[in-house]
Symmetry: C2
Subunit: 139 residues, 2 copies
């Protein structure tokens, strides 16, 4: 099982610690291809070294090889939206995790998409329960 | 010629007046399906009346029927990212317009995507020149 985890990088790193916790939990179910998204040393300037086209093509290859995309969608991110769009158009399974109390309005293109699941949560325990529930149902 | 214009709605409406100017210019080249994106009365709460799934399915149908996607990508928007991802995965032409002076880092998934064009601009005149250049080359 290959899992692509998507979270904001250049859109803002406020949730990096949370991403790391979700990634650690996802490892119970398979290989997380995008472990660097939870790296606390990764700033909103991005991946540091590699050029953008290298990052895009590497991440796209991972996305294409993944069995499932799990996205934390609370922080607004163009890249996460792009990854969800490509995954849905390619017919992949997508689970979105969202914290409504953050005060953001989730895009209608995500919340209204009939081909993905969105689960709202407050604590990491709840997020883990939604992940466990999703993998139990689909895999 | 059918044109899908993408700009931020729930991600923030600071650029709504600019979207309107771009949309007006795009009308020289064809029908702009998403004219409401430039509506100054449309707030970041979204489309008001319709449910999210109605919005998603209506916009997706427009996107699927469009010959080209023109996206203003300066304000970070999950929906714009999603639309770009779906359009690229479906093999559609995509032109992105970006104002670097705004201080945001454009996502590597957009700036590094080899299947779209990104044009940087400062004034509406420059944006119009990039649009004119793009349509001249491709249509």
């Amino acid at each position: 099982m290959k899992i692509y985890f998507a979270g904001s990088i250049r859109g803002g790193r406020e949730d990096a610690a949370l991403y790391l916790e979700i990634i650690e939990f996802l490892k119970n179910y398979g290989e997380v291809l995008t472990e660097h998204v939870g790296d606390p040393s990764l700033t909103s300037n991005g991946d540091g070294g590699p050029a953008d086209q290298y990052i895009h093509n590497r991440d796209l290859e991972w996305l294409q090889s993944a069995d499932v995309l799990v996205a934390e969608v609370t922080i607004v991110s163009m890249g996460v939206g792009y990854e969800i769009g490509r995954a849905i158009e390619a017919g992949k399974k997508v689970l979105c995790l969202f914290r409504p109390e953050y005060g953001r309005n989730l895009s209608a293109m995500i919340s209204g998409c009939p081909d993905l699941e969105i689960k709202k949560y407050t604590t990491i325990d709840e997020a883990q329960k939604w992940v466990a529930d999703y993998f139990k149902r689909y895999f």
